[in-house]
Symmetry: C2
Subunit: 333 residues, 2 copies
DNA sequence: TTGTAAGCGTTATCAT
DNA sequence: ATGATAACGCTTACAA
């Protein structure tokens, strides 16, 4: 079943069928309807390969992420996929894990599939060592590279980022205004976004004349239990803190559990702020104050920018979206 | 840059290049190495469209799900994607939402992309009305249809399901053994899996000589707050219950929050069991007893079955995986 | 408005 | 072991 079958049955040439297929205006209504009807009768669907061969594109975007089961990335993928589809694009998903090597391998695999663009979701996909991102810069000569919440400078590379630094700056400042002095900062990774968040925290302390102490900046695997246990250990070791600012809601949930275990009152004895305003934030008692990183807006903006690139519009290399502080019950303000 | 460039530079025919590309044994080592070297020099990558045109396959599997941001499905997608990739297959992701119409549309879209198989993740994609699944049965003549935690009878349709019925049966039975008499059952959807879970609950009650009461079987949107509020309302309306068995951890978390708000002791005054053993289960105090539905095993089995189908092995139409009851602190056993 | 025919880059089938 | 060439099914000039 191909375009020839349709053309034969409709009594027109394959060129005409192709025109109908591609919505060319140079077809009479009568012919168009005839062809459409035949297509329907035959249950004809055009062959994408043949089409791709001619067009050099398949209306498919590659999406890379480290792990699609992470709630933040899962939402990102969901929004990206939905958004792309409304523009008539499919998505090939690629979860790369955390090794640079496999990431490059999958990146090339996507390129070999002739995807029209590659979206990198999550700032963990950008390496801190500039050399390690060279493959992206090289590839960007051939196809647009879109970064969701990550930044990399380059000719055909477009970044949409959340203003994480400003967000944690505000969060920490408000903790300080509400009387907190010993704010523990919990983070998981040193990504573009991770560094910005940490800087915001540090700037806020410095801006208020408070010391930035190494001991109050702690790395922790991104899961509830690890965070809870870390805080129990820190507490046990004699470190005193009256607030926890976390780079992810999972860590903040761990802080709530630590407080519950040790009998500390939230927010009177311990204030807690999470990040991402995920469904985790509503799981705890009291519910988490959290920074909404606007993942949906981030994804939609990324897609709009990409469509702009495809249409040759003049689009910004970098778009910054402001985060929102969602105030619930783990803070005194 | 194509196969002609390589053939010219290597001084051989395109047929020979193609043979090298496809690992044909009918090439002398000398020629093979020569061609390989030229390919490397030129940075040549074969064109997937042309290849697909000839082969009629692109080593790509379509994955459909209702919503990739649901934690259960997000994990499923992650496992499926990873597993397929280890077998050399790509995945095209398609989130369809809950309307049958868009589902059919996307299904056909995947078919038109000539994917080698379609995996339907989550039992919500199978309709209760058999007529509405006809499109799957029709399509299964052309390509294998794989169901993850859903069942549909058909020639080329393969199901891998979790024994949900047995799981809730055991959970409810143990609640009863531990002294509970008024077990509230919370569910979200009437899917294949949803119905099985409910039946397990009902059977357990009946098996213990307890009445199955309509009032104790309640539908609820799959989010923490809705579940909490529903329970508050039921409590307020005078319904008395001493246990909650939920079809999803999110609902069970809502039950914990209800208990916290009303001051009911867990598990002494209220026992709670969730489903899926997701990260939600560790967010609450006390932590949730939950049924582990073995999503990873489900996905891996699905992929193994699919590879079996591709290789013409004799594979089972339906594979059932047993769930595990993970006992934590919201039950008296 | 419609048709003809030349690509597009592979794979596969013949010969040799 | 290698080469020539015909598919594969579409798009797109160019002609009519």
């Amino acid at each position: 079943m191909n375009i020839y079958d349709v053309s034969r049955k409709a009594g027109v040439s394959i060129a005409t069928v192709s025109r109908v297929l591609n919505g060319s205006p140079n077809v009479s209504d009568r012919t168009r309807n005839l062809v459409l009807e035949v297509m329907n009768d035959l249950g004809y669907t055009p062959n994408v390969f043949a089409r791709g061969l001619g067009l050099g594109t398949i209306y498919t975007i590659g999406i890379m992420c480290s792990d699609s089961s992470d709630p933040y990335l899962a939402h990102a993928i969901s929004y990206l996929e939905r958004g792309l589809r409304t523009h008539g694009y499919d998505s090939i998903l690629c979860c790369t894990g955390n090794s640079l090597e496999t990431r490059q391998k999958y990146f090339n695999l996507l390129r070999s599939k002739k995807v029209d663009a590659i979206i990198l979701a999550g700032s963990k996909l950008i390496e801190m060592n500039p050399m390690d991102n060279q493959y992206l810069i090289d590839a960007s000569r051939e196809l647009p590279i879109m970064l969701v919440n990550g930044y990399l400078k380059g000719e055909n590379i477009y970044s949409t980022v959340c203003d994480d630094r400003h967000a944690t700056h505000e969060a920490a400042s408000r903790l300080i205004s509400s009387g907190c002095r010993d704010i523990l900062y919990l983070y998981t990774s040193y990504s573009y976004s991770g560094v910005n968040k940490m800087n915001g925290y540090q700037d806020a302390l410095a801006g208020c004349g408070l010391p930035v102490r190494e001991k109050y900046i702690r790395q922790c695997p991104k899961d509830v239990t690890s965070a809870r246990d870390l805080l129990l250990r820190l507490d046990h070791s004699g470190l005193s803190f009256d607030a926890v600012l976390a780079s992810d809601d999972a860590l903040a949930v761990g802080a709530v559990k630590y407080a519950n275990m040790t009998g500390r009152e939230i927010p009177d004895s311990l204030s807690i702020i999470g990040y991402n305003n995920s469904s985790y934030a509503l799981c705890t008692d009291p519910e988490l104050t959290s920074i909404d990183s606007k993942i949906e807006t981030l994804c939609n903006t990324t897609i709009n920018t990409l469509m702009g690139v495809f249409h040759g519009s003049n689009v910004p290399t970098r778009t910054t979206i402001a985060a929102d502080l969602i105030i619930r019950a783990t803070t005194k303000f």
